[in-house]
Amino acid sequence: MNPSEIKNLMISALDADTDAAEVSRVVEEEGISYNFNPDFGDKVLNKIFSAGIAVNREIEFVKYLNFAFYRVALAGVAAIVLLVISIFLMDGSFSLNSFLGLSDNYNESIVCLLTGN
């Protein structure tokens, strides 16, 4: 095929109704083919299987970290919920003072605490 025929082939490959498989076959027959180096497969396998152990360890570490985080986070959320419920039961409301552990006449209590009287 001369260059102008190749150009026409390239352009025709982009017609929606062209049989692209046929174009691809002709292109390959013309020596327009792509491949990796002969040792490509071995390189890929070496990379995967020599790095495999390290990668697995890393994945396991991340898995355990996630697991530990979820356990801590769930326990924390449960403690907060219990605290909120206990505050409500003790003070009968969710006011800011009851969250802070202060009663309505807290000014005096603070003074007493600070002065010791």
Partner: protein, 186 residues
């Protein structure tokens, strides 16, 4: 060695064996699909060292994502999607790299890619196709690669590129226009 033959023909069996750590089975997958990946990666990036690295990355990604392959589509389609995504990411990365040094990022990137080719001993036809492809906008280049080098139908191209059919058809026509303009100059 990867050159050893593997008797299993069913790709689902190969996937299953690979998931069980069978190195030979995964080697067979690499052997079967490396040419297909080479067409996509080298068609998009040019025949450079980077293309070989991206090709390896495709199969490494495939190995670690094999458990996500549910067998609903062909394995080749699944691999092709990985290849397309990694190649487009590499093009974006290169574009960012070049844009750090010049405002004319696209032009210089194309010049770099063409200059990077090992043109010695390559056929005139190959050179012509490479030069035309590398001068194209990546979003059109991928369409030409899928159609002309891989021989995919419009429907298959849409599935692999995860695009609606209408978008693929419109890109085909715009890619054809761009290709015509490029080929006039070559």
């Amino acid at each position: 060695m990867i050159s050893e033959s593997y008797n299993v023909t069913d790709e689902k069996e190969l996937v299953k064996a690979s998931l069980n750590g069978d190195k030979k089975a995964f080697g067979e997958i690499v052997k079967r699909y490396q040419k297909m990946v080479a067409r996509t990666v080298k068609g998009m990036l040019g025949d450079s060292v980077y293309a070989e690295d991206i090709g390896q990355e495709v199969f490494i990604n495939l190995y670690y994502s094999l458990s996500d392959f549910r067998g609903e589509s062909k394995l080749s389609t699944y691999i092709q999607k990985i290849a397309v995504n990694l190649t487009l990411n590499e093009i974006k990365r290169r574009k960012r790299f070049f844009s750090m040094f010049s405002h004319k990022a696209n032009t210089e990137m194309h010049e770099f890619e063409i200059a990077d080719h090992d043109t010695e001993g390559r056929k005139e036809a190959s050179e012509l196709v490479d030069k035309a492809l590398q001068a194209m906008d990546p979003k059109f280049r991928i369409i030409v690669t899928m159609r002309m080098l891989q021989g995919y139908s419009t429907k298959e191209t849409a599935e692999i590129l995860n695009l609606p059919m209408g978008t693929v058809l419109s890109r085909l026509s715009r890619a054809q226009e761009q290709l015509r303009n490029i080929l006039v100059k070559l």
